[in-house]
């Protein structure tokens, strides 16, 4: 019965439902874009260069990957609260605060997995490309391209981490209907209110979004992923 209800909501293009999908995709999409723009160069640099304090930075990054998102939410909440250092921006309980929190959550994942991917590229390759006349930058760029599947995994992992995250967006967004309510926070609310059909509908959508995101990225790289050895 509840499942039928769920399907009905999806198929009738209920504006309440589609607004929540929109906010979810907007917040996580923009956050993913930011964390990718920062995370890939940082991860690649960590994978390709040696500098003092690199073990420290790496440990920091790995800690960040396992950091509870809700704690990052708390940190962002304090940052944007009226008494916080960025309180006068008035970002608390807006999608901007949610994007900030999700960017911070996804960044360690994107950069950490990118670093691992770049580290797995044959060390001889860069050496040989430099012998062929590549500058250090050109050889590094080639190494990142070699690691593209790993970098893709990094982006998918980042997206999966934030689209399904509840605690931080609940804290800093406030779960305001039509404004900051996203799929995960809506599931929490509807379940508490006993609207299981709606909650199931949101659950299906969340699964579908994650699946489509994964499928799209894998299809884009199909040629390379499934090339015969």
């Amino acid at each position: 019965m509840e499942a039928v209800n769920a399907l009905k909501l999806l198929l009738t293009f209920d504006p309440y439902v589609y607004n929540i999908i929109g906010v979810s995709l907007q917040v996580s999409g923009i956050a993913l874009l930011f964390s990718t723009l920062i995370g890939i160069p940082v991860g690649a640099t960590l994978g390709l260069t040696h500098f003092r304090g690199k073990p420290f930075v790496t440990a920091l990054l790995y800690t960040g990957m396992g950091f509870p998102p809700v704690v990052i939410g708390l940190f962002v909440f304090l940052l944007f609260s009226s008494v916080g250092p960025l309180g006068n921006l008035g970002w608390l309980f807006t999608t901007r605060a949610m994007i900030t929190a999700q960017t911070i959550i996804a960044f360690p994942m994107v950069s950490g997995f990118t670093m691992a991917a770049v580290l797995s590229v044959d060390k001889n390759l860069m050496k040989q490309l430099q012998a062929l006349g590549a500058t250090r930058f050109q050889a590094s760029w080639a190494a990142i391209k070699e690691a593209r599947i790993g970098v893709l995994v990094a982006i998918i992992a980042g997206f999966g981490g934030i689209i399904s995250e509840v605690g931080a967006v609940m804290l800093v967004g406030g779960n305001i209907a039509g404004k900051t309510r996203v799929l995960t926070t809506a599931i929490v609310l509807e379940t508490r209110q006993g609207n299981f059909g709606v909650a199931i509908a949101f659950g299906i959508i969340l699964l579908a979004i994650t699946f489509i995101a994964n499928l799209t990225m894998i299809t884009l790289q199909k040629k390379h992923l499934f090339a015969t050895e």
């Binding site: 050496k127 040989q128 490309l129 012998a131 062929l132 006349g133 500058t135 080639a142 090339a227």
Partner: protein, 254 residues
């Protein structure tokens, strides 16, 4: 007076002149006091493992800097610890082919034109195809490099090293893992390139017969210093150093 390099007669235009070169590693040092390399010659480097052959090649490719000494390349002097003395233009005249080729996970064709791409040079298929055909890889151009056999991969590595017409071709045992058929193809290619473009070729090999086949001059390097540099004929038939004779007879020092 005959120096250790034994150059009584000049062979043509100089490409490298090495003076008092020293490269130190923990527990090892390479010392080359005096060495001339010429355009158009194939210079074979023999010597046991750990003699410093690869280190010398890396120094000649300017991928590594010496601790002391001077390398004069095409009339310009390069000293250690001065980064400005190694301009990209100069480094791009030199290349190395290694024992184990590392190719991009991309098509064979894209691997071959990579050196042209990074130089922002035009890709001229008419110029590339003779090399590709000589190396017998024209049927592989569309394939991904990951599908290649060891011999095919090395032939691709050779092609990508030659498409930009390097003036110095450094070979670090490129045929060590190959079967006789592949060895023959590589040797013919290098010999042909050497005759056509008159580059300086420095070829590390463990195979005396290969040195006899392809070399003009042969050098024995041992324990980080040069034992003898002679013409191929002198080196193999009438070496000037007793140590060379012992080395050729298969005696090792430990």
């Amino acid at each position: 007076m005959i120096s250790v390099t034994g150059r009584a007669v000049t062979m043509g235009e100089k490409s490298y002149q090495i003076k008092n070169l020293l490269k130190k590693y923990p527990g090892f040092e390479l010392r080359v006091d005096d060495l001339l390399l010429f355009k158009g010659e194939v210079f074979c480097l023999l010597g046991p493992s750990g003699a410093g052959k690869t280190t010398l090649l890396r120094l000649l490719n300017f991928l590594e800097e010496a601790d002391e000494g001077e390398i004069i390349f095409e009339g310009r002097s390069y000293f250690p610890n001065n980064n400005n003395t190694r301009p990209l233009e100069m480094m791009r005249k030199i290349t190395t082919v290694f024992q184990r080729p590392a190719l991009l996970k991309d098509s064979v064709w894209n691997n071959i034109i990579y050196p042209l791409k990074i130089r922002k040079r035009q890709v001229n298929k008419q110029e590339i195809m003779p090399v590709v055909e000589e190396l017998g890889i024209s049927h592989l151009l569309r394939q991904n490099s990951r599908t290649l056999s060891g011999g095919e991969a090395q032939r691709v590595a050779m092609a990508r090293a030659l498409v930009f017409k390097p003036q110095v071709l450094l070979l670090d045992e490129p045929t060590a893992n190959l079967d006789p058929g592949n060895i023959k193809i590589i040797e013919q290619m290098v010999t042909k390139y050497a005759a056509q473009e008159k580059p300086t070729v420095v070829w590390i090999t463990h195979n005396h017969f290969q040195a006899k086949r392809v070399g003009d001059r042969v050098c024995l390097l041992e324990g980080g210093h040069i034992v003898e540099v002679s013409s191929k004929e002198v080196f193999f038939n009438n070496p000037r150093q007793r140590r060379t004779q012992e080395f050729l007879a298969g005696e090792m020092y430990f």
